[in-house]
């Protein structure tokens, strides 16, 4: 067992370089900067205490994220607050027959694709963050870790402590939710294609 000072140095070397990443992750979890700062500090505190359990060959960033997520869940439980609830649920919703469902999906994705790419990117600003915030935390995190932070499905499954299949389904469902919201928004502004063609 290394001495305290050595262990501290090792911890700082291994973990402190991820302060920004962890803070951002905490922000996605908590939704505001003050709580994100608190959570980041709590996560580092817990991580240091559990540092002897950390395996150097594993990914320190994912390990820290997992600790932050668990700390956040613990805090939520202690406060007996309900997490943000949206209509998204893990269990599949009753679906139309596969052919209709597929066609509908195609249509929705196609309608989101606006021909003028510049318009597409300029059209959406804060709405993206707003609709993202509406997602249930586990869906939001899966999507953000994948699309914003560039995590692989395997890494996400380790951070969120769920099977790969769940990660897959959360990402696709979260995207579908966002797609529908953004489509409605674009439609209101008169930019989205209205018809199936």
């Amino acid at each position: 067992m290394p001495r305290f000072k050595e262990q501290r140095s090792l911890f700082e070397e291994t973990a402190l370089c991820y302060v920004n990443d962890l803070y951002r992750f905490a922000f996605y979890l908590t939704g505001n900067e003050a709580d994100a700062e608190d959570l980041t500090q709590d996560a580092y505190h817990l991580a240091f205490r559990a540092f002897h359990q950390f395996k150097p060959e594993t990914d320190a960033k994912a390990w820290l994220f997992r600790i932050a997520r668990n700390a956040h869940i613990d805090k939520m439980r202690r406060k007996a607050r309900e997490p943000v609830v949206t209509e998204l649920v893990e269990t599949p919703v009753p679906r139309k027959n596969p052919e209709d469902r597929r066609q509908e999906d195609f249509d929705k994705w196609r309608r989101l694709t606006i021909n003028d790419e510049l318009v597409f990117y300029d059209l959406f600003g804060d709405e993206v963050n707003r609709y993202l915030a509406e997602l249930a935390p586990e869906f939001r995190l899966a999507l953000v870790l994948c699309d914003v932070e560039g995590f692989s499905y395997h890494e996400i499954s380790r951070v969120l402590e769920c099977p790969l299949g769940t990660v897959r389904s959360r990402i696709s469902r979260a995207r579908e939710h966002l797609r529908d919201k953004l489509y409605d928004y674009a439609k209101d502004l008169g930019f989205a294609k209205n018809s199936k063609g």
């Binding site: 302060v19 700062e37 608190d38 195609f106 196609r110 694709t113 600003g125 963050n129 999507l143 696709s172």
Partner: protein
């Protein structure tokens, strides 16, 4: 591969999660199927949009420093913590025993070391029982304030029932001019030496220990305003230690009843 097989795999394709063989089969299908291709473009566009538009806040420059300092202050990881906890517990027992001994002996005056020890004890006490009742908190708060006001010549009708940030600033300004009273809102190092030196030169030393955040003053005032603060008081034979804890800060106001202390008559005995 038909459309029904391809559609569920498009997300994985866009995310680079398909093995090369499956990815090739999906791509082959996409070259031949306009609908699937459009769906894939839609998913890619959304992914790009998220990468570009999702807020990516940056941690403040101080956060890393604060965390680093906190880690240095922390005891070692659990495996080595036992020894340290035992040592800390022993120190605490000695501190409490010192305070109790003073109670029982009727010693009229506390030395700096004893006050500091009691302060440390109070600190741990608060951390052991973080849940305080609002009424209790308010009562202790009020008592401390009333005593200080008497000395400072502040009349109670100037005091709002719930202290807000503006009032706190005014109060601090007023108290600055009162001889013998010093409210120090600067953070002090946690080592005992520093506490001793403060006690030497202050009649009332208010220790504000930032527990979490370096932007202590602003945040503390905000927390006062929000009513998150709570206090506790330890009555001693020759004075009292008032402790104050908000969400992120701990304050101990230590009364030190030395010979030159002007507040003696106004503080609880």
């Amino acid at each position: 591969m038909n459309c029904n097989d391809v559609l569920p795999k498009l997300h994985e394709l866009v995310d680079g999660e398909l093995d090369s063989r499956t990815a090739k089969r999906v791509r082959d299908h996409l070259t031949a199927c306009r609908s699937c291709k459009q769906a894939q473009v839609g998913i890619s566009s959304l992914k790009c949009l998220l990468r570009e538009k999702v807020e990516r806040p940056k941690a403040s420059a101080l956060l890393s420093t604060v965390i680093s300092q906190q880690i240095r202050r922390q005891p070692g990881p659990l495996s080595a913590r036992g020894l340290r906890l035992t040592a800390a517990a022993a120190l605490l027992v000695v501190g409490i025993a010192a305070v109790l001994a003073l109670f029982l002996s009727g010693e009229p005056r506390l030395g700096h070391a004893e006050v500091a020890a009691a302060c440390v004890e109070a600190f741990y006490d608060i951390f052991r029982t973080p849940e305080e009742s609002t009424a209790e908190v308010t009562a202790w708060n009020e008592n401390l304030r009333k005593e200080i006001y008497q000395v400072a010549g502040i009349t109670l009708d100037q005091v709002p029932s719930v202290p807000n940030a503006r009032y706190v600033r005014w109060e601090r300004q007023t108290l600055k001019n009162v001889k013998g009273v010093r409210l120090d809102f600067k953070p002090v190092p946690r080592d005992t030496e520093a506490k001793h030196s403060r006690l030497d030169e202050s009649l009332i030393s208010v220790f504000l220990l930032p527990l979490k955040n370096m932007r202590f003053e602003e945040q503390f005032l905000r927390e006062l305003e929000e009513g998150h603060a709570c206090t506790r008081c330890i009555q001693l034979k020759t004075g009292a230690i008032y402790c104050f804890r908000s969400r992120n800060f701990f304050i101990s106001a230590v009364t030190n009843l030395g010979e030159e202390v002007l507040l003696t008559d106004h503080l609880p005995r």
